[in-house]
């Protein structure tokens, strides 16, 4: 389920519903283990300019997922030859991703249903 309570202390992109960023990150990491920089790039590329996720707020979100046990981190040599922190999905994270994806689909279909209704 998506939480819509805003935590005042967390600087979240205002146009991104809380929890949606989590879903995006889990989805991206579900494809392959990546480091923060690569995640940031992929996020921008996939979503185009529609989602503004500042680089700054990316890391607190990643750390939160790590502390929840959904992703795990490992220091490995990156494609640039420098050591970087690679995140990958845990078993728990995969389950979480499935649940969140299902939730998202339900919610978005419900919302688009309502939106279409009003358009008619």
């Amino acid at each position: 389920m998506l939480s819509v309570t805003e935590d005042m202390n967390m600087s979240k992109p205002s146009d991104l519903v809380q929890g949606t960023l989590d879903l995006l990150l889990l989805k991206i990491l579900g494809l392959e283990p990546l480091h923060g920089w690569a995640i940031s790039k992929r996020l921008k590329r996939v979503s185009g300019d529609n989602l503004h996720v500042s680089d700054g707020s990316l890391y607190p979100a990643l750390h939160k997922l790590e502390q929840e046990g959904w992703i795990t981190a490992e220091w490995k040599t990156s494609e640039f030859g420098r050591r970087a922190k690679f995140y990958s999905l845990t078993r728990l994270g995969r389950r979480k991703l499935e649940k969140e994806t299902a939730n998202w689909k339900r919610l978005s279909s419900a919302i688009s249903g309502v939106v279409r209704l009003t358009e008619v």
């Binding site: 700054g56 502390q67 046990g69 990156s78 640039f80 050591r83």
Partner: protein
């Protein structure tokens, strides 16, 4: 799901906690990697290195904030924060040593005093006994409720039972599960190496089972041990074993000769087994048909003191009814042992019998110490509030620099909690010393011997928690108060306490008023205790107790089979004592002031008085009146010839008896009969005594009660198992102790002396010790309370003055005199003090009646005491205001105004 979750999270938490630096380093590395990539990309996109760098940093706007957010996700950052807060708190506290010391001392005093007092109450009153289910142990006595003359010892009672009566109660009682009996005896005990004079108790064979305590060494005493045919055995008190036998375990199983009969020691009882306070316990059951009355003067009567155990679910009233019915049946069987007026059996819990009136003293003390704890907490709160209001600006600055509300509140809580912790630890130390101090002043014989008074951990924890709670509340109030409203406004204001609203000041003033009220109440209690002690020590005893030595004689069993033999002994002994240098007079008696001996009903020929006519009856030698220095009012005193058992029966009476029974006529030459003598086998039965003289009365019914009618008979009237020697000396009475001892030993080596002391010490031990304890404890609590209150008043006034500096400066600049400034500050202080004293006095008016059992010779609402307390509190309170007020008059208007 949970366990798998922990599998990932616990290592992470531990890592962030214990490898903090490493985690920090990784966070830095991760961010730097990102930045470096961004910079490289920017350069690749054609920016200069400098532009690339600043653009990268811009994309990570609020970098430090984000890092902090990352740290917060670790969920353990609060621990690091708390550590930081503790360090910060400690630094702040070190920078204000005066404030810290006062706050810590305040708390420590409150915690320690309450812990000590409640430990004494818990160990001495609530859980003193090591016996099984001690709350159900009960004693009972047959009482003469007809006699309404209630003394501090209750109405007249027959606590001791004959063997037959004890057996009767044992067999017929339904309400008591079991009844044991104790028969006290002075015995001589020897084992070939030494002879000891011991206080023994013959105890019924069920005693040890009833108490449910096994031996420390050896075997339990079982009912079969009391059989006549069984091998005679006994059990020993731990303290005797430790003191006289050096805790030698080998003496168990050895044989002693006790009062001429060989007995084997089979058990050493544990240290806390102190029932009846005896040295040894000898199993022995009462013999059916034994009247209990001794055949000759040398042996004491065989009477048993009962101790029973209530059946579960039976209350003491039901037990009283049950036992009264038995007593009525027993009275029918042998009316001579239970005179008709003794009809009602009254049960008392064993603890009440042991601790007696001291119980109410302890409860009153508990109330007092609770007040002291309240004062300390209030004072602590006051101190914190005072400091908090000077730190409002600090709070505002920190809040505007980005500290969150929660973080600020936490910081204050940690700071006050560390203060409370130091206070609690210091309090533990104080309590450790305090418990030793209070044990030294607790009057002897008030706390059961079984009780072991130690610090009670749960009380200590409770008191510390109260302190911690106060600290938490105050910290919270201070922080919330500092955070209320528009912070920026406060930053623009100036002055140390600027921004203090009138409400905060009023709250603190309220705290001070409450403190003054509490301290006033304590002072009133202490004042009443002091008046009681003064009244008791200045009682007119009717004689001069100075320079009198008293000692108790113990005669070995069978030493003087006839009154005549004892008379010869006493005559010789007294003669030798009187002839020693420094002795003015010496005498013997069976009781010592302030008690006048056993009671008896009085019969006067031609005066058929049906009123209860109880008199105290002492047996004394001819020198008694001279020794105590009593005044002869009419007739003559005893002469040596009156002591001969063949002489005419004569008596000396006191003026109270004369007034009561011979209001209109001269008692000298009249005859009176003491009915109690008819019950004593070797006393003259049906005999009338001729009154030969009337003396002034002395205290004979306890110090606190008026004298009751008193008669003195020659000590040869009948045999008693012991007696006292009183010696009036020219110099210090104790210097005569050795000579008295030698004189008695030279007459008869087997007579021993116990409890030798001066009469003043004797009175001190038995009559003044309790009021003195009350005075010392209440006095010290009231003193501490007053001190704390003055700290509180001083703190508040000093703070008010510093907050008003500007106002005072303006006043002075406008030409106000120093006196008027002084008056202004003192007036503000005295309003608080007056309010506090008024509330305190009204509270005392209602509360001091709980002290009615401790207070004597003064009413609990004594105006003198109340006035004195009001003056004392007002004076010290104003003194505490004076220093800040003086400081106010010295305010330099230029400095005060420029400060703004």
């Amino acid at each position: 799901m949970r366990p798998e979750h922990w599998l990932y999270t616990i290592p992470l938490r531990l890592r962030s906690l214990f490898r903090f630096d490493r985690t920090e380093q990784e966070l830095d590395d991760e961010i730097r990697f990102h930045l470096d990539q961004q910079i490289e990309e920017n350069i690749a996109n054609g920016m200069t290195p400098k532009e690339a760098r600043s653009a990268a940093l811009r994309s990570m706007e609020g970098l430090e904030l984000h890092k902090e957010e990352c740290r917060d996700t670790r969920r353990v950052s609060w621990i690091g924060d708390a550590l930081y807060d503790v360090r910060f708190g400690a630094r702040t506290l070190r920078k204000n040593p005066g404030f810290t010391a006062i706050a810590v001392l305040t708390l420590a005093l409150g915690i320690s005093a309450s812990t000590v007092v409640f430990s004494v109450i818990y160990n001495g009153l609530l859980r003193p006994f090591p016996y099984q289910d001690a709350s159900r142990l009960t004693t009972f006595s047959i009482q003469d409720l007809r006699n309404t003359h209630v003394s501090e010892n209750g109405p007249d009672s027959r606590g001791a039972l004959t063997g037959d009566q004890l057996i009767g109660f044992q067999q017929q009682s339904n309400s008591l599960q079991d009844i044991a009996g104790f028969m006290n005896a002075d015995v001589f005990c020897e084992n070939g190496e030494m002879t000891l004079h011991l206080q023994a108790a013959y105890v019924t064979s069920n005693t040890f089972q009833l108490l449910g305590v096994g031996p420390l060494l050896g075997r339990s005493i079982i009912p079969e041990d009391a059989n006549r045919s069984a091998y005679p055995v006994f059990a020993m008190n731990y303290h005797l074993w430790q003191k006289r036998f050096n805790s030698d375990p080998k003496i168990v199983g050895t044989s002693f000769v006790i009062d001429g009969l060989p007995r084997t020691l089979v058990a050493i009882m544990p240290p806390r087994f102190q029932i009846d306070g005896d040295d040894i316990w000898i199993p022995s059951d009462p013999i059916p048909g034994d009247s209990g009355i001794s055949k000759n003067a040398a042996e004491p009567n065989r009477v048993w003191w009962p101790l029973g155990r209530l059946r579960p679910g039976v209350n003491s009233r039901a037990a009283s009814r049950d036992l009264t019915a038995i007593a009525e049946r027993l009275a029918e069987i042998s009316p001579s042992h239970l005179p008709p007026q003794f009809t009602t059996v009254v049960t008392r819990p064993y603890i009440d019998v042991v601790i007696g009136g001291f119980k109410s003293t302890l409860y009153a003390l508990g109330g007092a110490v609770a007040m002291l704890l309240l004062i300390t907490c209030t004072n602590f709160a006051n101190l914190l509030m005072a400091r908090g209001s000077t730190r409002e600006k600090e709070i505002a600055i920190r809040a505007s620099l980005g500290a969150s509300r929660g973080r600020l509140i936490r910081q204050f809580l940690v700071e006050t909690l560390s203060l409370a912790t130091v206070g609690a630890v210091t309090g533990c130390l104080f309590a450790y010393w305090g418990i030793k101090g209070i044990l030294a002043v607790i009057p002897a014989g008030t706390i059961p011997k079984e009780a072991v008074i130690t610090l009670n951990p749960s009380v200590l924890i409770f008191a510390s928690c109260v302190a911690a709670l106060t600290a938490l509340l105050c910290g919270l109030v201070v922080a919330l108060y500092g955070l209320r409203g528009e912070l920026n406004l406060r930053l623009t204001q100036t002055g140390k306490g600027a921004g203090l609203s009138r409400r905060g000041g009023k709250f603190r003033a309220g705290l001070v008023v409450a403190e003054i009220a509490l301290a006033t109440t304590l002072l009133v209690a202490a004042g009443l205790m002091m008046r009681t002690l003064l009244a008791l020590t200045h009682i007119d005893l009717g004689f001069n107790p100075a320079n009198i030595l008293v000692t108790e004689l113990s005669f070995p069993n069978g030493a003087f089979p006839t009154p005549e033999g004892k008379k010869v002994f006493l005559q010789q002994a007294l003669q030798r004592i009187v002839s020693s240098p420094g002795v003015i007079a010496a005498a013997s008696s069976i009781s010592l002031p302030p008690y006048g001996g056993p009671g008896s009903d009085l019969e006067i020929p031609g005066q058929p008085d049906t009123r209860p006519s109880r008199v105290a009856m002492d047996l004394c030698s001819e020198g008694f009146f001279q020794t105590l220095g009593m005044h002869l009012l009419r007739g003559r005193l005893f002469a040596e010839a009156d002591m001969a058992s063949s002489a005419q029966r004569v008596a000396v009476v006191d003026e109270v008896l004369a007034r009561r029974f011979f209001p209109a006529s001269d008692p000298v030459g009249r005859e009176i009969k003491f009915n109690v003598l008819d019950l004593i086998p070797d006393a003259p039965h049906g005999t009338y005594f001729k009154i030969i003289g009337v003396v002034g009365s002395i205290k004979n019914y306890g110090l606190r009660n008026p004298a009751i009618p008193q008669a003195y008979l020659p000590y040869t009237t009948f045999g008693t198992p012991g007696g006292n020697i009183l010696v009036r000396s020219a110099g210090k009475p104790l210097s005569m102790a050795k000579e008295v001892h030698d004189s008695i030993e030279s007459v008869d080596r087997d007579v021993s002396l116990t409890a030798t002391s001066s009469l003043e010490t004797y009175l001190q031990t038995f009559s003044y010790a309790s009021p003195e304890f009350g005075f010392v404890t209440f006095g010290s609590f009231a003193g501490i309370g007053l001190l704390l209150v003055n700290v509180g008043i001083f703190g508040l006034m000093a703070y008010n003055v510093s907050a008003q500096t500007q106002e005072i400066g303006i006043r002075i600049a406008l030409g106000a005199q120093q006196v008027s400034i002084l008056k202004m500050i003192l007036a503000a202080g005295s309003r608080l003090i007056a309010a506090g004293i008024l509330i305190g006095l009204s509270a005392s008016y209602g509360l001091t009646r709980f002290l009615s059992r401790q207070v004597w010779g003064v009413t609990t609402t004594d105006h003198g005491t109340f006035t004195a307390v009001a003056i004392l509190a007002a004076f010290t309170g104003l003194a505490a205001c004076y220093i800040p007020a003086r400081r106010a008059t010295r305010v330099d208007p230029m400095v005060a105004l420029r400060n703004e």
